[in-house]
């Protein structure tokens, strides 16, 4: 395998200069996005540098419980971000999203590392906590899953609750004609799943032809064999897709217990 080609500081600066182009258009058309784009870019740089430093130590010591703790921190940040973006009350969504994200990401990560990647067989050692939660494998996979679950959950949860609120007459009609709460919310959940998964499915449709995915490109640029990169990419798409629906189902089923009263009426869900 070839050595990963490093990017110099000068190269990074030249790369970042490209951001001047979107900033130019954002300003020209008075989109109001200039300031937030600059802040987001600076935050990204600072955060990645700090995480890079942190990961260096995390990889160096590589203790399973520290790595798992890091996973929990990532999960907390993803949960807070998800709740903020949906604009749904923290008291309703915080715990369901946290539980949904953490259990799903943990289950899928372990499934992938132990059964798909078969780390223990590749390394010819026994399966252990140290291996399953090793920094090199566990943290990138866990983070990747959280990132994808975040996008899908934000879109789906917003669509779901907005739908019930907007179509209250339809929801009441179903409840009033004998539907269980699960039956009355099913059309809204269906619409939410449809809306949030359409982009994922469309992306899968054109993968490799129109869209060359980041994980694969990263691996190839990093010196991996393209055949290996393709296999990784395939599995990454599958596990992120599966994790997104499992986490959504877990989140909605837990959130439903907090967002409806004992008469089946949707309580005020939007707000702080």
């Amino acid at each position: 395998m070839e050595q990963t080609l490093d990017i110099s500081i000068l190269g990074l600066i030249i790369g970042l200069l490209l951001m001047a182009i979107p900033l130019y258009f954002f300003r020209k058309y008075k989109t109001g996005l200039v300031r937030s784009t600059i802040v987001a870019t600076l935050r990204m740089i600072v955060q990645l540098v700090l995480i890079g430093l942190y990961l260096k130590y995390l990889f160096q010591y590589d203790l399973w419980y520290v790595n798992l703790l890091w996973g929990i921190i990532m999960c907390v940040v993803a949960t807070v971000t998800c709740v903020q973006r949906t604009n749904i009350k923290r008291s309703i969504l915080m715990v369901p999203v946290a539980v949904g994200f953490f259990t799903t990401a943990l289950f899928i990560s372990i499934y992938f590392l132990a059964l798909v990647l078969r780390l223990h067989e590749s390394m010819n050692i026994n399966l252990s906590l140290n291996l399953l939660f090793s920094a090199r494998y566990f943290i990138p996979i866990f983070g990747l899953l959280l990132g994808n679950m975040l996008g899908v959950n934000v879109l789906a949860l917003t669509t779901y609750y907005e739908g019930i609120q907007r179509e209250r007459q339809m929801y009441d009609y179903m409840l009033g004609n004998g539907a269980t709460r699960a039956e009355a919310t099913a059309p809204f959940l269906s619409a939410a799943i449809h809306k949030s998964f359409i982009p994922c499915i469309a992306n899968m449709m054109v993968m490799g032809i129109v869209a060359l995915p980041g994980t694969m490109i990263g691996q190839i640029l990093g010196g991996s064999d393209p055949n290996i990169a393709i296999k990784y990419q395939m599995m990454i798409v599958v596990i992120t897709f599966v994790a997104s629906i499992i986490s959504l189902m877990a989140t909605v089923s837990l959130a439903n217990r907090r967002s409806f009263d004992r008469y089946g009426r949707l309580i005020e869900v939007f707000g702080k």
Binding site: Q169, M170, D172, Y173, G176, N177, G178, A179, E183, Y263
Partner: protein, 207 residues
């Protein structure tokens, strides 16, 4: 069949219903009338368990309405809100929706039964394949009313079934409701502004 006793209902500090009592026996038609904003729809929604009342009791078929009994009470009711449109591809799908619920699995719905019901209401069988958005509001109201009839529940709760109907169609609706009450023993509680429909009622609650 329906017993509303000393019911009061408030939205914040504004009391919209105060000490309302109204009873309907099996097979009776009860009308609720009054000016806009007087609480007619709120009363119906309270019977459905959609609004919380501050005082009083509601009993359906001898069962007092509480959070523990609301599911079984709703299974005894067919409900039609005002000017409802469902996002179904065809009217047949729209009609079929409540029959897909577990609570209504025993209820039979066939095109023939629907056609017979629609004859009462002056609707043509050809409408079944149409989109719900391609028919008039008045036609949709009558279609939804036929669903209430077909569900065969002991109590029907309807909000303004004739708000978009002309005199002739209102007369057909009145005749249909009378048939449901006299031949099938259905109890009906409805909000109405229509004089001719109010004349069909056995009892009228003026708010």
């Amino acid at each position: 069949m329906l017993k509303i006793s000393h019911l009061s209902l408030s939205y914040g500090s504004k009391e919209v219903l105060h000490d309302i009592s109204f009873h309907l026996q099996r097979g009776e038609i009860g009308g609720v009338r009054g000016e806009s904003g007087c609480g007619k729809t709120s009363l119906l929604r309270a019977v459905m368990g959609f609004e919380r009342f501050s005082q009083g009791t509601i009993e359906v078929d001898g069962v007092s309405l509480t959070a523990d009994t609301i599911d079984s009470i709703r299974q005894r009711i067919a409900y039609m809100p005002q000017e409802l449109s469902l996002p179904s591809p065809t009217i047949w799908e729209m009609v079929r929706l409540p029959f897909s619920f577990k609570a209504n699995r025993g209820k039979v719905l066939t095109e023939e039964l629907l056609r017979k019901e629609w004859e009462w209401l002056g609707l043509g069988a050809h409408l079944q394949g149409h989109s719900p958005y391609s028919v008039s509001v008045g036609q949709r109201q009558r279609i939804m009313l036929s669903v209430c009839g077909l569900l065969g529940k002991p109590l029907i709760v309807i909000d303004e079934p004739t708000s978009a109907l002309d005199e002739e169609s209102t007369r057909l609706v009145a005749r249909y409701l009378r048939m449901l009450s006299s031949e099938r023993g259905t109890t009906i509680l409805m909000v109405t502004h229509s004089h001719s429909l109010a004349e069909t009622c056995d009892k009228v609650l003026q708010l």
